[in-house]
């Protein structure tokens, strides 16, 4: 088992290196850090050259990549821009967790991301939990009532659910629950940000502000998950061992929830595990609409301003998360499935 884990981790490393290299090359071409950092204050060519040397942008791409990856505190860099390397650099490289500084806000990227990640995580985890809970109920229910009219109606509704663009459902729910409710004098839900600045970041404030974004996200994920759970359950229920369980006269509940569900949970766990890291990306549009201060908004804001460090930091973080989750899911699955565990 340990061997398997190590092997997978080792396989993940070249993958991450490829990703980091490709992204780095792409990002180098995107923005002009000089312009971003200097703004309008640096107009003289000498100033620009100095800044270029200070930032190490005059070095070959390979060297820039190397510094980004493993830092430059082990070598001398040109800190005053006069063309002569004088003291050691201060960067540690992303391998040691240093993603550099934002070109726009001058804060460290790690700090920026660190501020925002919890907000995105709250949103994502809440959506995931709501989604899975409802999807399990609906998926199992419709699998058991396969040919009923209710099942057909639900299937059609679910299709609509996952064909909806996220902004459509967000805007619609905002319109109904915030605008219309307000017009009709009903208690209405907030639509902007994580909390009302006048009330402060209290638990109930955050909770109320979460309702609409979580609802929008859940509707879309839930539609997809329900279909998957339904089809997995259908497939499992048609298996021979379920027929055996019924032939043994076991009560229906035992057949469905123990014999069937235990088997169906394997592919479902895989789906959830592999999906989780991508939730980090799913919030980009939602965070924009609801002005939720999360990583998605951070990404968007800094991308439009060509803030390479922040963008790279977020992308690498997500890539690492995806690879890690793949490995964790694999391991978890191997542990759950006795056919793999006891071999």
């Amino acid at each position: 088992m340990l061997q398997y884990i190590i092997k997978r981790l080792l396989q993940g490393i070249p993958l991450l290196l490829i990703v980091s290299l490709t992204l780095f090359l792409l990002m180098m071409k995107i923005g002009d850090p000089i312009a971003t950092m200097g703004g309008r204050t640096l107009t003289r060519p000498e100033d620009r050259e100095r800044l270029t040397r200070q930032l190490g942008l005059d070095k070959p791409i390979a060297v820039q990549y190397l510094y980004w990856l493993i830092g430059n505190d082990w070598t001398k860099i040109d800190s005053d821009g006069d063309g002569v390397p004088d003291k050691n650099g201060t960067r540690l490289g992303i391998i040691r967790g240093d993603f550099g500084t934002s070109l726009v806000t001058k804060k460290s990227v790690t700090e920026l991301i660190g501020e925002r990640i919890p907000n995105t995580l709250i949103l994502m985890l809440a959506s995931e939990i709501v989604t899975i809970a409802f999807a399990l109920v609906l998926g199992i229910y419709s699998a058991l009532r396969q040919y009923s009219t209710l099942d057909n109606i639900l299937t059609a509704l679910l299709f609509i659910g996952y064909s909806m663009p996220i902004f459509f459902i967000s805007l619609m729910s905002m319109y109904i629950f915030a605008v219309l409710f307000k017009q009709w004098g009903l208690p209405y839900l907030p639509t902007v940000g994580m909390f009302d600045p006048q009330e402060g970041k209290t638990f109930s404030q955050v909770l109320w502000h979460m309702v609409l974004p979580v609802m929008s996200l859940s509707v879309i994920y839930f539609a997809g998950y329900s279909r998957y759970i339904r089809s997995t359950m259908l497939e499992v229920m048609s298996q021979d061992y379920v027929r055996t369980a019924k032939a043994k006269g076991l009560p229906r509940r035992q057949v469905v929830y123990i014999h069937a569900l235990k088997n169906a949970s394997l592919p479902i766990v895989t789906l959830v595990g592999l999906d989780l890291p991508f939730l980090l990306g799913g919030a980009v549009v939602t965070e924009r609409i609801f002005a939720w201060p999360g990583m998605g908004r951070l990404f968007l804001d800094h991308l439009t301003r060509a803030d390479v460090s922040v963008v790279m930091g977020i992308l690498m973080l997500v890539a690492v998360a995806v690879v890690l989750f793949q490995i964790i899911t694999d391991i978890f699955y191997a542990w759950l499935d006795p056919r793999i565990r006891y071999n």
Binding site: I18, F159, P165, F168, L171, Y175, G281, V284, V285, A319
Partner: protein, 314 residues
């Protein structure tokens, strides 16, 4: 045993129904799928709306802005209302539809070509070709698509000038969007094609073809590929829906199709500001996207059931 007194009748050894090809079978089963037919009809209607509508409204009209008429609710003069600078929304959804649908279909074309190339080569040749191609595919799969799209949109945005065809002018961003959507969604198809090739290349008739000296490219394109068309068709149909959604998301975020060229996505961009006062700004384009994606999903689902080679019952 005594011989029977009547001659033994000709026993029919053939089946009572003639064998059907996968396509005939597929069509028969597809016809039965009510939702899929509904999806197909709806898609055709949407295509008529977008491309036929061009005969009712000119593009100039769609871009014509009269700020005195801004933010008008739906009326007989403007059935879908007007937007924040006074343009008629109905006309814009028609032309926006053309762009969005065009992007959807062409991006999938690119995606299919890339996906088949990568998948076929990886699956057929195996070995280090497979390893390299698959590592690359996996690397691309690691980044969430929306991030990738946004980064590439930012990178390539503004690099292509406006295009003029006949009387119409298109923002160069359309080409950019088509290219990047195509370039970021081929991976799923590549995996499917690779899996198909891995299984088909071991079949006996392929070994026979090789033994008689058929060239590799002939085997790939003339022998194996036609047999893998069913999952490719299903996957690419559903991809059109994804492509349309992808375009709408990046346009909505401001990095997609640029004004004045309309697309369903960029029409929604400004709408959040006028959420309470002008819901028609986002309702109509959003609804059209929903209907398009929905009909494609129905269609794709029906195709998948109809062309599934595993269930050969009619």
């Amino acid at each position: 045993m005594a011989a029977p007194s009547i001659p033994i009748p000709q026993l029919a050894d053939d089946l009572s129904t003639p064998p059907l090809t996968l396509w005939q079978l597929g069509w028969l089963r597809f016809r039965r799928h009510k939702m899929a037919l509904f999806g197909g009809v709806m898609l055709i209607l949407l295509l008529v709306f977008s491309f036929g509508g061009a005969f009712v409204f000119t593009e100039k009209y769609a871009n014509f802005n009269d700020t005195s008429q801004r933010l008008q609710p739906p009326s007989s003069a403007h059935p879908f209302g007007t937007d924040s600078i006074g343009r008629d929304i109905l006309a814009r959804t028609i032309y926006g539809g053309q762009i969005s649908l065009f992007i959807g279909f062409v991006a999938v074309l690119i995606e299919v070509v890339l996906g088949i190339l990568v998948g076929a080569l990886a699956g057929y040749y195996g070995g280090w070709v497979d390893s390299i191609l698959m590592r690359f595919t996996e690397a691309m799969l690691i980044i969430p698509t929306i991030f990738l799209l946004l980064v590439m949109a930012k990178f390539f945005g503004g690099k292509i000038p406006d295009i003029h065809i006949g009387e119409r002018a298109f923002s160069g961003s359309v080409v950019v969007i088509v290219a990047i959507i195509g370039a970021t969604s081929w991976m799923y198809l590549a995996r499917i094609v690779r899996a198909e090739f891995l299984s088909w290349k071991e079949r006996e008739f392929i070994l026979a073809a090789r033994a008689t000296g058929t060239s590799n490219s002939e085997i790939i394109f003339l022998h194996i590929l036609p047999n893998t068309m069913a999952p490719i068709i299903v996957s690419s149909t559903l991809s059109v829906a994804n492509a349309i959604l992808a375009e709408s998301y990046i346009s909505f975020l401001g990095l997609g199709v640029q004004e004045p060229t309309a697309s369903w996505g960029n029409m929604l961009d400004k709408s959040a500001k006028y959420l309470d006062s002008a819901p028609w700004l986002w309702f109509f384009p959003g609804m059209l996207i929903l209907l398009t994606v929905l009909s494609i999903n129905f269609l794709g689902d029906g195709l998948r059931d109809a062309l599934d080679p595993r269930s050969r019952t009619v």
